[in-house]
Amino acid sequence: MDGLNIPLNHILLVSSLLFAIGMLGLMIRRNIIFILMSLEVMLNAAALAFVAAGARWGQPDGQVVFMLILTVAAAEVAVGLGLVLQVQKRFKTLDMDHANRMQG
């Protein structure tokens, strides 16, 4: 749609808020599934910022980067969920605090 004139810093504000919420969730949750979910939220926020910036200048570069972010998110989720399965098998729990053998 043409000529909507949404101010850029409002969108960036939304993006920052989403990022902060995602980060909060990341630091608080102990279950690894939720940690991965928080990562997705953060990635989404960054993607929003990129697309908004691209739309500001009317260039496709923002959406191209969005696609790359999407790729990264997809690969990361795939591998991450595989790790979740392994964690469940080895520690018999999804508590991330149990995986502290890198201690010291």
Binding site: I11, M23, N44, M67, L68, T71
Partner: protein
Amino acid sequence: MLEIVFFYIAATVALIATVMAMTRANAIHALIYLIVSLLAVAVIFFLIGAPFAAALEIVIYAGAIMVLFVFVIMMLNLGEKGDKQERQWLKPGIWAGPAVLSVILLVELLVVISDVNGPVSVSAVSAKEVGLSLFGPYVLAVEISAMLLLAGLVGSFHLGRRYLERDHIEKGSSQ
């Protein structure tokens, strides 16, 4: 204009949905809220003139990645015990420290973006333009992302294999 109101509504929905997603104890509930959040962000994409990005957001992000999450959660079969455990872990006291850090970061981000100005969406960027850009200047990026996906594929296949082979024998044992 009305569309600007839409933007604010979509933004609010996204924020609330994300907050709900972060605070649920049941994993499936959290995922549903997350999907809602992603859909709201897709609406925002539409509104700022990036239809291709919006489509990708819905199809891949909400449609594939979140579904993958759901599959894994169902496979893990956490049940009631998992919910109780989550509630136990999610006490109010632990929000304090991370909240401080997040607030500080938020303030910094706001300060940084405060002097950015300019309206968005003078004109929409169509899928065709994105496509031409991808196969033009960004073709290398496409190749590399293909390799990345391959790596992810192989990695997840390897990591998930053992689980499937052995665990289906022990299916039904407590977790």
